[in-house]
Amino acid sequence: MIAFFHHFMYDFRIGLREKSLLLMNYLFPLGFYVLMGLLMTGINPTFAPTMTPAMILVAIMAGTLLGLPYPVVESREAGIFRSFKINGVPALSIVTIPILSSCVHITLVSIIITLTAGPFFKAGVPVNWGYFLLILLLTALTFASLGILIGVVSPNSRLIVLFSQAIFLPSMILGGLMIPSDMLPPALYRVSLLLPTTYAMNAWKGLAFGMQSTFDPLWGVLILLASGIIAFTLSIYLFTWDSKNKSRGHNPLLALLSLLPFVIGAIFLSTL
């Protein structure tokens, strides 16, 4: 437990010390939040009520999809994981600790956004703080698990960009952050149901912000939970210490199973 604590504290400090991680954990999401607060609330008045969860989702995606995978690939390629293995660091810690520390960074950024969005940009504030925190934690854990899984299955940094952006960019455009999902044309709405942010936004709107949700928000909670559990389990199952040693040889395509709950959601919820 002492080792786990030292490892966690080290990982948390790295999230502030490493320039690229500091950018993804704090500078980019907070800069984007200020920019959107100044621009979007003036251009699009319907943005303000959902601004808080939308900007928290940007922080979650930046800290996890963009911030988590690269250190995993870098550590594997540089022989850092081999050194960890020789010194008895378990794979479970290597996978779990970055997830937890990134959740702490996300929570800190979320507190800043939630406390300032109302007074500065007249954004909506949660009416049910319990659900707000629960969905925040669940979404952060799910995205962090997906981020780690991308790092685990990516053989190099070019593929990290491809995999991460395959979720990040569509989520920014279609995931309910800028435009509410129920305002999308039916075909795009069905596509949006393949994105985790759609479920998080729907759950936050329906359960925490007292707004009309597009579908039962509990489905969103369930689907996020299922994806998070699958992604976390696969991250441990597919984890490799060393890119030169292919002895474990599990098929990285198994990682696609983590998206299965969203596919199921898209099939069933698009007909509701």
């Binding site: 002492i2 030292h6 790295i14 010390r17 850092i80 081999r82 008895g88 002895s247």
Partner: protein, 309 residues
Amino acid sequence: MQEDVVVVKDFTKTYGSTVAVDGLSFTVHRGEIFGLLGPNGAGKTTTMESLEGIRHPTSGSLNVLGVDPTRQPDRLHRLIGVQLQSSGLPGSMTPAEAMEFFCAYHHVAPRYDLLKRLGLGEKQNAQFSTLSAGQQRRLALTLAIAHNPPLVLLDEPTAGLDVSSRIELHDVMRELQASGTTLMLATHDMAEAEKMADQVAILLRGKLAALDSPTQLTATGSGLVKISVASETSCLAQEGGVFPGVSQQLNKDEYMIYYSHDAGETVPALLDHIKTHGDHLVDLRVERPSLEDRFLEITRSEDSNGGQP
């Protein structure tokens, strides 16, 4: 009776159709410094990594202090310390953090005193990426020995280090040996192996080409002694001559170098030749073959045998 610390028996490791190590067997005893020598691709790193539990043997058996590295990795990591060839640490980790981190996983108190002992006291809060190559190597060794393991495995420990850093690391290795620690050393550096190792295994193309103490290994070679002579007017180079016991001679800089199987006959004949030609001796050196000479001899013999050591 000497206690066996590492027992390697008929160890073979293949990667697809490539045989990296082929039927290797040797034993390392407690308190020894054991050198694993060989050119690139000889199988040194594969052997070391298999002993560290990173790679699994294709066949044969490995035993490290009574532990099978493949089946009991959790027990193994408490018994060994490993200084890896690559850095093995995140660039932004400081020596103090690395010490806390690894000692916590080894369930021992951090050994900040070792950082000071190895000259890293002032750098303990500097990021790993800002340390010099010598400081990075010293940190790797410090972390490898911080939990006081009975066996330390070192992969090219002094590669790229300046002379004083090499001497410092050699002193630490000697201190560890004196305290009863067994050291296994994979190296390209023949002089280092000759100076440090009690026993040396030479690997060629995955097979064991020689296994003995450096003294015995050099003694069992061709037996040729190297005699280097320099004189004022270089009469040996200009006049030539046939000298007893000499099987090969060459001219290098101001020296004539003779390889003799009977130095007792050759040296007086050389001195007599210089005197009779009115020349004066400037320098005379008689050297036994070094481990490097023996290594080259074994390598050439293996090449001429078509890869059969």
